[in-house]
């Protein structure tokens, strides 16, 4: 009997190690350990064994059962592992094939730049307002200290709709409007983005329609130094921490003093390159202290109240930022262009 058990063990162990699938192992289990399995068959012959040997045989049989079960379990795991392995091997992908395309639309580069500009000023506590694109001559010129036949009107040939109504040539009329609305309350800290129009034939640097963003602060004790700081913060947010600015005296009828603002060229770090035409500086905006006449027209006392204004061209800023050399690309809307943003 002992011999039979030993031979069963070796046969079963071989069967286990020969099995390569879960099914074969299940069969092995039924064949040897099942209710009618070979081990049970052998143990049925226990009555033929001398009683004093029975406990030894019994123990042996238990050990064999235990051994086989352990073997089976570990072998099943092994087989599963191999099967999974084969499956994984089979399922190898070519990860160099392109991913499935998610078609997201593209924002227009001008919108991107406008949003950037507006967000910077929002974070500095400026409110955003919009002025009308079709505007009265009064707000576009007169209220900004540009009377009829003022030589400054040369600077901006306008699209008139009637004698008194025109497409605004800048976002500055908004200055007059907001001051008129708010005066004598203080402070004013606003930004006004929007479309403007000038009678320029379209070429690489001109467009009859373009964007502008107006910045206006009116309060007690607002100084040119404050203007400089505000612009410096803006320029560094927009063009990078390393940028410096240069203010040059200039002329706008609605600011005094007035200045043009250059930023140090980001392409050459001010060394001089083709982008900055060798000067190391890029002109990005115009600004100044609100002209006392403009304050007066709006209802503020210029001897007590002061303010600053700045106007910048998102088109120009986008051209600089993205290295675009032709303003017409913005309004032509070639998808091959738009898809780059």
């Amino acid at each position: 009997m002992e011999r039979k058990l030993q031979s069963l063990l070796s046969t079963a162990l071989k069967a286990i190690s020969d099995a390569t699938t879960q099914e074969e192992l299940d069969k092995v289990r039924i064949r040897f350990l099942g209710r009618k399995g070979e081990l049970t068959q052998i143990l049925r012959q226990m009555k033929d064994v001398a009683p004093e040997k029975r406990p030894i045989i019994g123990q042996l049989a238990n050990e064999i059962r235990h051994r086989l079960e352990t073997e089976l379990t570990s072998h099943i795991e092994e087989v599963r592992r191999l099967v999974r392995l084969k499956q994984l091997e089979r399922e190898q992908l070519d990860i160099t094939l392109p991913g499935a395309t998610t078609t997201l639309g593209h924002k227009h580069p001008l919108s991107l730049v406008l949003e950037d500009i507006v967000n910077i000023f929002l974070q500095m506590g400026f409110d955003v307002f919009e002025g009308p694109e079709v505007e009265y001559d009064y707000y576009n010129f007169e209220a900004l200290n540009i009377p009829k036949h003022h030589p400054a009107r040369d600077m901006q040939d306008s699209f008139y709709l009637t004698e008194e109504i025109l497409l605004r040539t800048h976002t500055s009329p908004f200055q007059a409007r907001i001051m008129e609305q708010v005066a004598p309350e203080l402070p004013i800290r606003v930004i006004c983005p929007g479309r403007c129009y000038r009678r320029d034939l379209a070429d690489a640097t001109h467009s009859p329609m373009f964007y502008q963003t107006e910045v206006l602060v009116v309060d007690e004790n607002v100084s040119f130094a404050n203007l400089k700081h505000t612009l410096l913060v803006f320029v560094r947010e927009m063009f990078g921490k390393e940028r410096s600015i240069r203010l040059r005296p200039s002329f706008f009828p609605f600011t005094e003093p007035s200045a043009e603002v250059d930023i140090s060229c980001f392409a050459c770090e001010g060394e001089g390159c083709s982008l900055c035409k060798g000067t190391g500086w890029l002109e990005v905006l115009g600004c100044g202290m609100v002209h006392p006449k403009v304050l007066e027209i709006a209802g503020y006392d210029p001897s007590k109240i002061s303010g600053f204004a700045a106007g910048m061209g998102p088109d120009r800023i986008a051209m600089l930022k993205y290295g675009i050399d032709d303003i017409r690309l913005f309004y032509e809307n070639d998808l091959r262009f738009l898809h780059q943003f």
Partner: protein
């Protein structure tokens, strides 16, 4: 304003900084230097003396010339020129020279013989020879020129020119002296005024009787001074003068005209020379033009004058358009022996208006428009007098000066404390006073906290304290002013709701795969006609521009569609396969025409789809755009913005009659129209494909938005799902079938979703199959079959009765 470097030097006591440094100084002083050019530099063009001339052995059309080129040695040239003689000095362009006409010189062989460069004509050097003395062939240089010297130097070419953009306020800087004053102020040098000569009457003879000046329009002419130039010896100006005029951008004419132009460029005071013999009754009358008067100006144009224009007339008729251009009749000619010279000051607005209405722009009008200092009138005449003498061109007689109301310097009261506060820098009083003095602004009185500053009349732009603030600040240096943060109460920056929503909408649409475009607000009225819009959106609503640049940009748009369709056509022409674009912009709707008040300018959104939704990939071909994609985008948008409403059929001419809809909101207010573009309309826009378009009034949307969200508890009991396919007559609208199902579905229906529409075998002809998935759920218990089945029965029954449906097996 073109300022030749060497010319400017004449008026500055110290040697000028280098041209680039000078450009920086001027730019930072507010005179922006646009460019630094060299006028006609002629590198590698040198003086050569002809030594020997021989005929070319191979041809009789060419000569072989040996020249002495000084330190460059002896050179051999082959030339066809006939005017050479041994001993003459001529310009030689050496290999490497680049001529003003763009030609680059190389050594080359002519019929076997080497030519080491090229002998040049005056034309090739862009050098204008004195009138009547033009040489044919090679330019002959003065005998005094030394072989090997630069020709540019000999001809006084090649000056460096600063091109300065003078802002409209600085009329004083439209002159060499004005710019020099800025240079002197900025560098600490002194301004050196040119030599003048006050004409002295030749005899006691009453020169005043030789001509008479009447200013009949004193409001438009503040001062008029005239003097006669006698003993005129008309001829060409010396080279130095011509070179300076050319470098400054003016063409030399003759010595008299050149001198007047030179003085204008120098002093900023325009002058005009009349042929005295042509002036009827020897009178100058400054008056308004009479109705129907005409004047042929120097450019040969016949100008029709109107009464608001100011003319300089003689006893009979206009002889000049005041401050703009002289008349052809009294032009200086070779027969002129006496000239009447005008130096005057005219009202800027009138000159500007006249110049504009006649479309004329001259150096004189530019200066008068910006404002000429009446107190500079005599200085210009005295300077002219000096130059006439120096050039032996004539003799200026005594001056008749009509100046009824002399302009005197005004005084500005300035408060240094307030100036400092406005600048934001602690600039000392001493600096402020010094700065003003350097600008020739005189502090005439000083009290505890104010300065009385006298403003010379050439600085017409300085009117109030703020103007002085700029002067002090720029002399202090904008770069030295500190950058100080704004002070005040903290506050949040806000964006108006409309703009925030616009951003949100753009994000949603971008998520839907649409590209944003930006198009011009003005369009071609013809493209409106192409849209075949209904009469209530017709062309009478289009606001026209008074002076459009072209018909394409001549009216303000009332709809965004034409622009977007043009963008679509443009991209299709460029082989784009997927057009999925949108724009959010304003449209312009007048209350009434012609316009008396601002139009309403609501924001619109327009979407145009054509071709495919995206790019094909290796996994799948991209879906073709269709009506339902467009509708889906709108549904996504309004769902996100919490707007509800319904789609109803519409009948717009621009859309396919069977493929269009209007979306109406709760209040029955129309929000959007959408559809497949009518094939005729598509064709008229050069769109050879199906196009889907939508336009939406965002201002209407803003009124109906519901952006607040409230949490709904998640269901606690499981749901039961049933699929149902109804075969219904083909003309039954989906929404009708859905309503019938909803009505019959009982209280447990939580969701109803159409998942298939099918026509064809085995569905009978005239029918379609609509397959729905129904989700049932109860809030308080788990549903059983028994809960659901009766409702399914009701649905089938109602569908059969109301829709004529039967269930597909």
């Amino acid at each position: 304003m073109r300022v030749p470097y060497s010319w400017l030097q004449d008026y500055v006591s110290e040697k000028l900084p280098s041209p680039t440094q000078l450009a920086d100084i001027l730019t930072l002083a507010g005179l922006e230097v646009d460019s630094i050019e060299r006028a006609n530099q002629l590198d590698w063009v040198i003086v050569a003396q002809v030594v020997e001339i021989k005929l070319h052995p191979e041809t009789e059309h060419l000569f072989v010339v040996q020249v002495n080129a000084g330190s460059f040695g002896v050179k051999q040239l082959v030339t066809g020129a006939q005017n050479l003689k041994p001993g003459l000095k001529v310009p030689l362009a050496l290999p490497g020279a680049s001529l003003p006409n763009g030609q680059t010189i190389e050594a080359s062989r002519f019929k076997g013989l080497l030519s080491e460069g090229m002998l040049c004509s005056s034309q090739e050097l862009s050098w204008e020879e004195p009138e009547g003395k033009e040489t044919t062939g090679i330019l002959i240089l003065p005998r005094t020129a030394n072989p090997g010297d630069s020709v540019a130097q000999v001809l006084q070419l090649g000056d460096i020119v600063l091109d300065i953009e003078v802002t409209p306020n600085r009329s004083d800087c439209l002159s060499m002296i004005g710019v020099a004053r800025e240079v002197a102020t900025a560098t600490g040098a002194k301004l050196v005024l040119p030599q003048t000569m006050v004409p002295v009457p030749k005899s006691n003879e009453d020169e005043g009787s030789l001509f008479d000046i009447t200013v009949a329009a004193p409001d438009l002419c503040h001062r008029y001074a005239g003097a006669l130039i006698s003993n005129v010896s008309l001829g060409s100006s010396p080279a130095w003068l011509k070179q300076r005029l050319m470098a400054a951008g003016m063409r030399p004419v003759n010595n008299i005209v050149d001198i007047t132009n030179y003085v204008m460029l120098e002093t900023g005071q325009p002058l005009h020379a009349f042929d005295y013999s042509k002036l009827a009754q020897k009178q100058i009358v400054v008056r308004h033009a009479r109705p129907d008067e005409v004047l042929i100006t120097l450019d040969g144009t016949e100008q029709k004058l109107t009464e608001d224009m100011l003319v300089i007339a003689d006893g009979e008729k206009p002889q000049a358009l005041a401050g703009i251009m002289g008349g052809l009749n009294s032009e200086i000619t070779t027969n002129t022996d006496t000239v009447l010279l005008e130096s005057a000051s005219f009202a800027n607005i009138n000159i500007r208006r006249t110049a504009r209405s006649l479309g004329m722009r001259t150096e004189a009008s530019l200066r008068f428009e910006r404002g000429v200092d009446p107190n500079g009138v005599l200085f210009a005449l005295h300077r002219t007098s000096m130059l006439l003498k120096e050039l032996e061109a004539g003799e200026l007689g005594s001056i008749l000066d009509v100046y009824p109301e002399p302009v005197t310097p005004h005084v500005i009261t300035a408060n240094p404390d307030r100036m400092r506060r406005l600048i934001g820098a602690s600039i000392e009083d001493v600096f402020i006073k010094k700065a003003l003095e350097r600008l020739q602004l005189q502090v005439v009185q000083e009290s505890r906290d104010t300065l009385q500053v006298r403003i010379p009349t050439f600085r017409q732009d300085l009117k109030q304290e703020a103007d002085l603030v700029e002067e002090v600040a720029r002399l202090y240096g904008f770069d030295r002013i500190p950058a100080l943060p704004l002070e005040g109460k903290l506050k949040i920056g806000r964006r108006p709701l409309e703009l925030s929503i616009e951003l949100q909408i753009k994000d949603i649409l971008r998520g839907c795969g649409l590209d944003e475009v930006q198009t011009y607000s003005f369009i071609n009225p013809k493209s409106m006609a192409k849209l075949k819009l209904s009469p209530n959106d017709n062309q009478e609503n289009l606001i026209p521009l008074m002076f459009p640049l072209s018909e394409e940009q001549s009216v303000l748009r009332t709809t965004l569609l034409p622009s977007l369709l043009e963008v679509a056509a443009f991209n299709l022409r460029h082989k784009a396969k997927a057009i999925n674009i949108f724009e959010i912009s304003r449209v312009y709707l007048p209350e009434r025409m012609p316009l008396t008040e601002l139009p309403s300018m609501p924001r619109h959104l327009a979407i145009v789809l054509a071709g495919t939704k995206g790019e094909d990939s290796w996994q799948s071909k991209s879906q073709e755009n269709d009506f339902y994609r467009l509708k889906g985008i709108l549904e996504t948008l309004i769902h996100k913005l919490g707007v509800s409403g319904k789609f109803v059929p519409s009948a717009l001419n621009c859309y396919h009659p069977g493929r269009q809809a209007t979306f109406k909101m709760n209040e029955n207010e129309q929000l959007a129209s959408l559809g497949e573009l009518h094939p005729d309309v598509a064709e008229s826009f050069d769109l050879a494909t199906r196009v889907y378009a939508l336009e939406l009034d965002l201002s209407a949307l803003f009124m109906q938005m519901e952006l607040t969200r409230k949490y709904q508890p998640l269901p606690r009991y499981p749901s039961v799902e049933r699929d149902l396919a109804l075969t219904v007559p083909q003309d039954i609208e989906a929404i009708v079938a859905e309503e019938v199902i909803r009505e019959a579905a009982g209280p447990y229906l939580a969701q109803l979703k159409l998942f298939d529409v099918y026509l064809g075998e085995p569905i009978p002809i005239g029918y379609k199959s609509l397959a729905y998935s129904l989700l049932f759920r109860a809030p308080d218990h788990t549903l059983t079959e028994e809960d659901i089945n009766p409702h399914i029965e009701t649905i089938l029954q109602h569908a059969a009765e109301k829709l004529g449906a039967f269930v597909r097996h």
